[in-house]
C-alpha cells in the first residue's frame, strides 16, 4: 500500500468543496415516495444496470446453480456454472411455453443445487448447462422445429473479483469492470476468496431501498442511534480528534461512492461486555486481528492510523464494507415496491482455525445483527412519515455527502432514461 493519502479533505474543511456539482440545497424526497418514480427507477436503473447477484463460491462445481427471485426486474434469474466453467445467467424459463424452469415445491422461492443438465418438469424439455436445447420431447408433434431458436433466454453475466453480476439490458455494451470504475479497481486484489466463511441474513423492510442505503452511507447517526450498542465509539478517535464518527475520507466517482471511518476499533475497551471478553471479539470483528497481508490501495484512502471501516456503494444497490479487523461484508438492497425492499447481508471471515475463532465470529455476527436491528424500525418509521408528504425535501450535511450523491445519481439516471425513450432504448 502506498503510504501517502490518496484522498485529503479540502482546505475549507468541507468535503462538498471537492464536489460542487452536487449543490448544497435541500433534496426532494419524492424519489422515495412516488409510485410513478419507482416504476421509472425499475425501467431506467434496475433493468439497465449491472446488478450483484452472488459469489462464485456459491457455484463451486460444473453444474452448480442458484436462482434469484428478482421482482424488481420482473424475473427469476438462473445462474449456472457450465461444463466449460463459464458462469452464465438465464431467465429461469423454458423456451417451449415459458414454464418456470428450475424450482422446487414453490416456484416463487429461490433454490440452489447441482445438476448435469437443466430439465423442465412441465413437458420434459432438456437443456445443456450452456442453455442450448438438448432435445424437446415428442418431436413428432412439433411444426418447423428449429432447435437453435429454442435456447434458454440469456442474460448478460460477468464476474468481478468473484462477485457475479447480471445486466438485463440486452443493448448494454459497457463491461462490468468499466462500469464499476476506479473505486472498484482500487480494491482489486483483496483476498475475497480467502474469506470464505459466510454468514448470511435477509429481511424485507417497509422502506424504500434508498432510505435504507442512506442509513449505511453516513456515520453522523452512529453516536446517536448506536451509542448504546457501540459505546467504545469514543475510543475510535479520528485524525481531527473531534466528532465521534466523522469520516476519514469520502470519494464520489461517477455513479459510485465510498466513505472511510475510524472505528470503533476491534479491541478490548472499558466498555467491552463479559461475553465479548470471553471470546475476544465484538461488533467490529475479532480482537486478534487476522493479517490479510498488504491491503489494496483503495482501502483506507486517507491512510489513517485509526482506520476502522470503509464502505463502498456501487450503483445502484450493492455495498462492500471492509473492516480493519480482517473481514468484509456485502449488502444488497432489492426494491420490492416503492416503499419496501429486501435487504441482504453477508458477513465474510476466513475459515476459522479454531473453535475459539469460530465463537469470536459468532459474537461479531450476533452483534452486527443487533446493530442492524437498531436501524430497521427507525427507517421504517421514516418511510411511513415520508409518505405523508408532510415534508417534501430533506437536508444533507457534509457527513451525508454520499446520501446527497445517491439521490442525485438516481435522479440523473431516471431523467436520462426518460430523455432517451425516443431512442428505442
Amino acid at each position: 500500500m502506498k503510504h501517502e493519502p490518496i484522498v485529503t479533505k479540502p482546505a475549507s474543511g468541507h468535503w462538498i468543496e471537492a464536489y460542487p456539482e452536487l449543490g448544497k440545497g435541500p433534496i426532494s424526497l419524492e424519489d422515495s415516495v412516488s409510485t410513478e418514480f419507482y416504476e421509472k427507477e425499475r425501467q431506467h436503473i434496475f433493468k439497465k444496470s449491472w446488478l450483484y447477484v452472488g459469489r462464485i463460491e456459491q457455484l463451486p462445481n460444473k453444474g452448480s446453480y442458484f436462482t434469484r427471485e428478482l421482482s424488481v426486474l420482473d424475473t427469476s434469474a438462473l445462474l449456472v456454472r457450465g461444463k466449460d466453467d463459464v458462469i452464465r445467467a438465464f431467465h429461469n424459463m423454458c423456451a417451449h411455453r415459458g414454464n418456470k424452469l428450475v424450482w422446487q415445491d414453490d416456484p416463487c422461492q429461490e433454490v440452489q443445487g447441482q445438476a448435469p443438465l437443466l430439465y423442465c418438469k412441465f413437458h420434459g424439455w432438456r437443456y445443456q448447462l450452456d442453455g442450448s436445447l438438448i432435445a424437446p420431447t415428442r418431436r413428432d408433434l412439433l411444426y418447423n422445429f428449429d432447435a437453435g431458436k429454442c435456447s434458454l433466454a440469456s442474460i448478460h453475466c460477468e464476474v468481478w473479483e468473484g462477485f457475479i453480476f447480471i445486466n438485463l439490458n440486452s443493448n448494454n455494451t459497457e463491461p462490468l469492470r468499466a462500469f464499476l470504475g476506479e473505486l472498484a479497481h482500487g480494491v482489486e486484489g483483496y483476498p475475497f476468496s480467502q474469506l470464505s466463511k459466510a454468514y448470511a441474513f435477509k429481511v424485507e423492510l417497509n422502506c424504500n431501498w434508498k432510505i435504507f442505503m442512506d442509513g449505511f452511507a453516513e456515520g453522523y447517526h452512529t453516536p446517536y442511534l448506536h451509542g448504546g450498542a457501540l459505546p467504545n465509539l469514543e475510543d475510535a478517535g479520528n485524525d481531527a480528534g473531534n466528532a465521534l464518527a466523522d469520516s476519514l475520507a469520502i470519494q464520489l466517482k461517477r455513479l459510485h461512492r465510498m466513505i472511510s471511518w475510524a472505528g470503533p476499533p476491534a479491541q478490548k475497551s472499558k466498555h467491552s461486555t463479559p461475553t465479548e471478553c470471553l471470546v475476544e471479539a465484538g461488533a467490529t470483528g475479532l480482537w486478534n486481528k487476522v493479517d490479510l497481508g498488504p491491503l489494496p490501495e483503495g482501502i483506507n484512502p486517507g491512510r489513517s492510523p485509526h482506520w476502522g471501516v470503509d464502505s463502498f456503494q456501487f450503483f445502484p444497490n450493492f455495498v462492500l464494507v471492509f473492516w480493519s479487523s480482517g473481514c468484509y461484508t456485502t449488502h444488497a438492497h432489492w426494491p420490492t415496491g416503492p416503499h419496501s425492499h429486501l435487504f441482504e447481508l453477508v458477513i465474510y471471515f476466513r475459515e476459522p482455525q479454531s473453535y475459539k475463532e469460530r465463537l469470536g465470529q459468532e459474537m461479531t455476527v450476533n452483534f452486527l445483527n443487533d446493530v442492524i436491528l437498531q436501524d430497521t424500525s427507525p427507517l421504517e418509521g421514516m418511510q411511513a412519515m415520508l409518505n405523508s408528504r408532510g415534508i417534501r425535501e430533506f437536508h444533507a450535511n457534509d457527513e451525508e455527502l454520499l446520501v446527497r450523491h445517491l439521490h442525485k445519481v438516481v435522479a440523473d439516471s431516471v431523467s436520462a432514461g426518460e430523455n432517451n425513450k425516443g431512442d428505442g432504448i
Binding site: 454468514y199 448504546g228 475459539k356 465463537l359 452483534f367 442492524i372 430497521t376
Partner: protein
C-alpha cells in the same frame, strides 16, 4: 448412552434440551421468544463455566467434527453469545426500539 455434555460440564446438562441450538436463526428466535427471566437464568447458570468451556472446545481440531457431547457444549456457548446482547446491552430479549422485526439468518 453417551452423556449430553463432557463430564466436567455435566451440571449444565439440563440446559441442553432448551438451549443447545446450532442453527443461528432458530437460536435467535429462541432468544426473542423467551422471557427475560428465562434468558437471565440461562446466562447466570452457564457463564461461570464459559471460560472453561471455551478452553475445552479449543483443544479440538476445528477441521474434525466434534463428538456429540462437545457439540452440545459448543451450541450452549453459541446460545450464550446470542443472549449475551439481551442481558449485557439491551436488558430485554429484543433490541430496543426494533418492534417485532428480526432478520432471517440463512447461514
Amino acid at each position: 448412552m453417551s452423556s449430553l455434555l463432557p463430564e466436567k460440564f455435566a451440571a449444565l446438562a439440563h440446559l441442553v434440551p432448551a438451549w443447545s441450538i446450532e442453527d443461528g436463526h432458530a437460536r435467535y428466535v429462541k432468544r426473542v421468544n423467551s422471557s427475560m427471566e428465562e434468558i437471565q437464568a440461562f446466562y447466570d447458570e452457564i457463564f461461570p463455566y464459559a471460560e472453561a468451556a471455551v478452553a475445552y472446545l479449543n483443544e479440538f481440531d476445528y477441521q474434525q467434527p466434534l463428538p456429540n457431547d462437545a457439540a452440545n457444549l459448543r451450541n450452549l456457548l453459541y446460545s450464550l453469545i446470542t443472549v449475551s446482547l439481551a442481558v449485557e446491552l439491551w436488558k430485554q430479549p429484543r433490541v430496543k426500539h426494533s418492534a417485532n422485526t428480526i432478520l432471517t439468518r440463512l447461514s
